[in-house]
Amino acid sequence: MAQLTYRDAVHAAIAQEMRRDSNVLFLGEDIAAAGGVFKTTVGLLDEFGKDRVRDTPISEQAIIGAAMGAAMTGLRPIAEIMFSDFFAVCWDLVANQIAKTRYMTDGQCSFPLVIKSANGGGSRFGAQHSQSIENWAMAIPGLKVVAPSTPGDIKGLLAASIRDPDPVLFFEQKSLYATKGEVPDDEHVIPLGKAAITREGDDVSIVALAAMVPRAEKAADILSNDHGISASVIDVRSLVPLDTKTILEDVSKTGRLVTVEENPRLCGWGAEIASIVAEELFWDLDGPIVRITTPHIPLPSADALEDAVLPSTERIVKDVLKLVD
């Protein structure tokens, strides 16, 4: 078991899968010679050569189209969209073509491809390079959606995404790239669709994703140490498929649900989970369902402003206290 950064775990997963299967190809802007603008893919070009690791022009529709055409003819492409905000320039390929073609053709073809992308705020990049768009993806039938919070999960879930027979949008959270954690050296694959309970608790279930997970964990620690409140923390990890079983079991135990979303408020993934719990677990609830999200605004750039709007540990603690007290 090595200590790796989240950034290096991305490399570890891709290298593991490219070694295993020569049908895995990788394309994107500045991913080959330069090793990626977030340095997640350094060395892949050298190891796997320029037929398998390819720099592209700034043509996101071509990148995603190429991945789609390759996937439907037997290959397993990984495409990179540099910042997740840029999904907007190729959304037709993603949401209308890749997501729907298997269904529309009565199951004639599959799309074993991964689109990986740097997601989320906290880097003072401003409103067009900081969005959390996992809820855009979740809203589209036919897409799987994965967003890990630890280096170990990055390796295991990215490997599983590459092996998955369906299209996966894989979100790497920018603010986590430099974080470190244990990553198995050997082949490591974590099945999609399993949430992880990272803190067990009795009073309230805090459900979080990606960069919000460490904040929720810290909040749970504070709640426990300073306030005697026992909170479980569930790292959703994969929005589609969604591990409702783990969430429902935990909430039925605690009786209270708080979701922590980095995406702006309206139609976030937390709303979906809230609606499931409000329908299926209504009689087990001991109090309102609380959603903590970034307000429904574009993200500001200045550090002071950005920090003020992203859900913070303090805000989680405060909102949970309000709910539980």
């Binding site: 189209g65 003819t73 037709d92 073509q97 073809c109």
Partner: protein
Amino acid sequence: MAKYKPKLNPEIRLNLYRTMSECRALEQRAYDLFMQNLIKGTSHLALGQEAVASGFGNAMREDDYTFCTYRGHNHTYVRGVSMTSILGELMGRECGLLRGKGGSMHLMSMDHGALGSYAIIGAHLPIAAGAAWSAQYRGTQQAAVCFFGDGTTNIGAFHEALNFAVIWKLPVVFVCENNLYMEYTAISDVTAVANPAADRASAYNLDPILIDGNDADVVYETAMTALNKAREGEGPSLIEAKTYRHGGHSRADPGKYRPDEEVEEWKKRDPLDVYRKRLLKLGIDAKSIEKIDAETEAKIDEATEIAKNSNPPPLDIADTDVWADGSSTWRN
């Protein structure tokens, strides 16, 4: 580049004719079935444009790929897909190619290399490039052929796909069927150049190729050259084939925005009439032609009968096959 010289022997010529005749019958029947309200939703016919589908269909290798648009009945048919399954799909029946899940605009048959009909303008150009990339990587010498309309040359995906295919030298043939109109708007009203595809070839370091899309021989020969170029590793081609649709854009459209004389002019250049005359002139006897027409007639009648008698699809297929495991399950 090794120059390929296609040989237009009588057998090929009769095949070109037969394919056009079958396409014509298929879509004319589709039209009749609308009129009888047996086809719901919309449909986009290519009556008058059969020479393009026929020329390419006959020139392609069985394992080549085609990508086409909502106006793709013919392009799908020429790959070997049955009339029954096409009509069945248009009618939303169980015997349909997609059992009613896709409809008229989304015909696809992986088994025949017909890799889909795409209903949002431009999308399939980069996808075709992707399939060509796959063939290149796998070293199979397959080519991908991508059909689209004149209107499609003004959308962003066209530009991205062309540049991408050229820099990666992909074995893909882009075929612009210039039928002079988008939906109801003349392409010349909204395009900076006279020939929307050919006049842009140089922007991708490609040769301009502008052909008579109503002449099946010309299409066939052009197709052969471009496919051969692709297989030889010489990269993509962009072909503009001038043609015309006899009817409106879609079911709902009588096509009244077009001057009568223009329609008349082009109907005189009906690709089937033109070709029938040429065959006779070349000494092919009228009997062989009549035989083809009769066989076509029998074929379409039989297909219609089967499709009409096919049941609606079972309702439970509506929530299958979102995922490769056959399900649509998004939770446990």
